[in-house]
């Protein structure tokens, strides 16, 4: 009796297992560069892995996707008037609370953006593993919002144009930003949730930076270049902060070389429960 029942079960499992539908699709879209001077890019990516890097000079933008067509819909809309493009992957149907499946996390996107146009970049990520290489672009503004994501942003090369603002909003995320010194951003903003954030201000830039940080209950690490003068104004509660290399005056902390360097960083930090660390780099 037991054996037939077992075999019936195995048979059912095998037969139905092969009947599983395959809904993964490959999608790509690109636009050649036809002399445009600026591009406002909005990226909205719900779940999966995403990579972003500079494109060839002949390309204005390119998106390559592998996605689950049952649950997601690729987005690529270009508005010629104003040179605005929206790229990404949005959920199909109404908004609902969903735990991404393994297949959705297997989704991937690769985006390449022109290095010869003034670029405004506004990216929103859901449950995403993201690596963004923004070095070598002409980035004028950057806004990055992340949900339950792991995001690494790099400015491996110097930004080709001064950047007004780089703002980051990290939820339950792990966010690491390397080489903000190369970004040439005059203002850096961070709203951190309960995740871990690392901001690395090293790089070859000479632009003074104002940094506004609000961190709720996560872990914040600031990597500061030794050659730059730093002033930190901190409003904190329930946080112990005794950074090395700083002199304290009230709620303000000054690096030893503050006021005597070509480049300076002014940090305003508000936090309640966040762990705060400062590292010195070159």
């Amino acid at each position: 009796m037991t054996r037939p029942v077992l075999l019936i079960g195995i048979g059912t499992l095998l037969v139905a297992g092969t009947a599983a539908a395959q809904s993964m699709h490959a999608y790509s879209t690109m636009r050649q560069w036809h002399g445009e001077t600026r591009l406002t890019t909005t990226i909205d990516f719900a779940a999966g892995t995403i990579r972003l890097a500079p494109a060839d000079e002949s390309i204005l933008y390119r998106l390559t996707l592998e996605y689950d067509q049952e649950r997601f819909h690729p987005v690529s809309q270009y508005v010629t008037d104003g040179h605005r493009v929206t790229l990404g992957l949005k959920p199909v149907g109404e908004w609902s609370l969903r735990v991404p499946s393994q297949q959705q996390l297997g989704q991937s996107a690769s985006i390449a953006l022109s290095p010869v146009v003034d670029l405004g970049l506004d990216a929103t990520f859901g449950a995403v593993d993201a690596e963004l290489e923004l070095g070598g672009l002409q980035l004028t503004t950057l806004a990055l919002r992340t949900g339950a994501s792991r995001v690494v942003v790099r400015f491996s090369e110097r930004n080709k144009t001064p950047c007004r603002t780089a703002s980051f909003a990290a939820g339950a995320a792990e966010l690491k930003v390397y080489g903000l010194g190369n970004s040439r951003c005059r203002e850096v903003r961070l709203e951190g949730g309960v995740g871990s954030v690392m901001l690395d201000f090293t790089g070859a830039g000479t632009t003074d930076s104002r940094v506004h940080l609000m961190m709720a209950a996560g872990e914040l690490t600031l990597r500061l270049p030794r050659t730059v003068g730093v002033r930190m104004a901190i409003e904190k509660s329930l946080v112990r902060f005794e950074p090395k290399g700083f002199t304290r005056r009230g709620n303000e902390y000054f690096s030893a070389n503050y006021g005597r360097t070509e480049r300076s960083i002014e940090v305003e930090l508000t936090t309640s429960f966040a762990g705060l660390q400062v590292e010195w780099g070159d």
Binding site: G9, G11, T12, L13, A16, T18, A19, M30, E70
Partner: protein
Amino acid sequence: MRSHNYVALALLPSLLLAGPSFGHDRVGEDSRAFELIRSLFRRAPFPLAHTHRATFAPGHTTLVLHLDNNSELRLTLADGRLFIDDDPVGVYLPGGGLEAAWHDLVAEAARLPTPAVVHLLQTWSPDSVPQGEARTAKSVREAAESVDAPVFTTSRPQLLDPAGPGGFTIDVGDLTDPVSLEPLLRQAARLASAALRVSVPEGTAYLGDFSVGSGEVVEGHFLVLKGTADMYGSLRGNLVTVDGDVVMHPGAIVTGDVLAYNGQVVALGGEVTGEIRTLSPLGSPAAAVAPDVQTLSPLVLALRRAAGLAGVFFTLGVIGFGMVIFARHNLEVVSDTVSNSFGRSFLVGLIGQLLVLPTFGMLVVGLILSVVGVLLLPFAVIVFGLLAVLAVLVGFLAVAHAMGETYTRRRMALGATIGSPNSYRYLLIGLGAVSTIWLAWVVFGWVPVAGQVIQAAAILMTWLLGTVGFGAALLSRAGAREQFSGRLLPPEAMTDEYLWATPQYGVSAIKRPAAKPPKSDS
């Protein structure tokens, strides 16, 4: 002989489940069922070669197949050796028969479509070559056999006549959302033949290879089915290929958008002022698009759901057996709580569900407000989550246990001989009973309206049982609070043996030794 019976039994579910779908199109459904069974024994799909490149250079001749998993298969003959992906795997005599045959093959590959090249490689067997070179050729064949090719059937180039009013129409004037266009393109690919009539508003449909010559200027949108679009001249409109590539040659201009469905856009030069898009299903041969959920047959749908149900049953069974082995006492106490206090368990379970999130919030806030608590927060969150899941799981299994126990005891009370009435049996019977509710949905879930009603009923019943189990687990503190299950009866009356083996009524009950009266203090 017996084993054949078992195999037949193993396939029985598929035949039984096929029942509802057999009807007006018996032959089609039969072949689909056999295709399904055949798919059991089919090998895993190999990567598809979508393009290839042939290279002649001093000292080496190379053929590269570009695969859809972003890798490539590189076959090179150089310096008397065959390299596959840069690994030496065979030898040949420079200037010999194998090298000459390889040169012929690569030259042929330069003008053939990729599927034909894959086929050439898979059947490549040069004549009159020494044994060592024959082994090298075999290595090439074996490497090529690990690759599939799209089964494009390039048709004789021809213009397709437009369909009549209300006929098959594909509007390729707006390509901003190719996904919404995909069903139509897929349909067109399936129907593609010289007899197909399809209308393209402000455009033209072609079957087979299509080209715009150098210096030529054409107007309107073009839909090319099962063919490559070679662009040398100018097109003022959109261009769409289905099961074929778009090749932009130097000097070509397309002033609209380009879409290759199930194909590639090969940019050798030229200019596209609009968007260049590609879209294709992954993991299936290019011409055979897998059905999506909405178009699954009732048989396949039922089989998928049956597999899911079997998986859940198996998983719960394994967890339940583990509990019987390692925490039998707790399981039995929760199970007794379900049996003896069903209504209270349900109420407690209901209230517990409502209070889970507020409790969690209070816990988090409480911990955050204390310095030590902040450190404990991550652990507390994990532990809270685990406890909640554990309570639901243990409760649900306890309900199954209680159902099985009740059923077994009743049968025994009616005189049935049960081989071994134990917790394993109770669990299996209980889980089987719960699965039966869902089995109805598995079999009849495809029926319009009734399917949804059955599904709703199954969800409701499962939620009810889960709530009762959750409540029982809370009441009995996951089986640690033993006395609860006996709160309405004296402790000795709570044993299974007492309740089920001791007659409560009739002659036997009268002859039963009377319980000792409680001692009076006076």
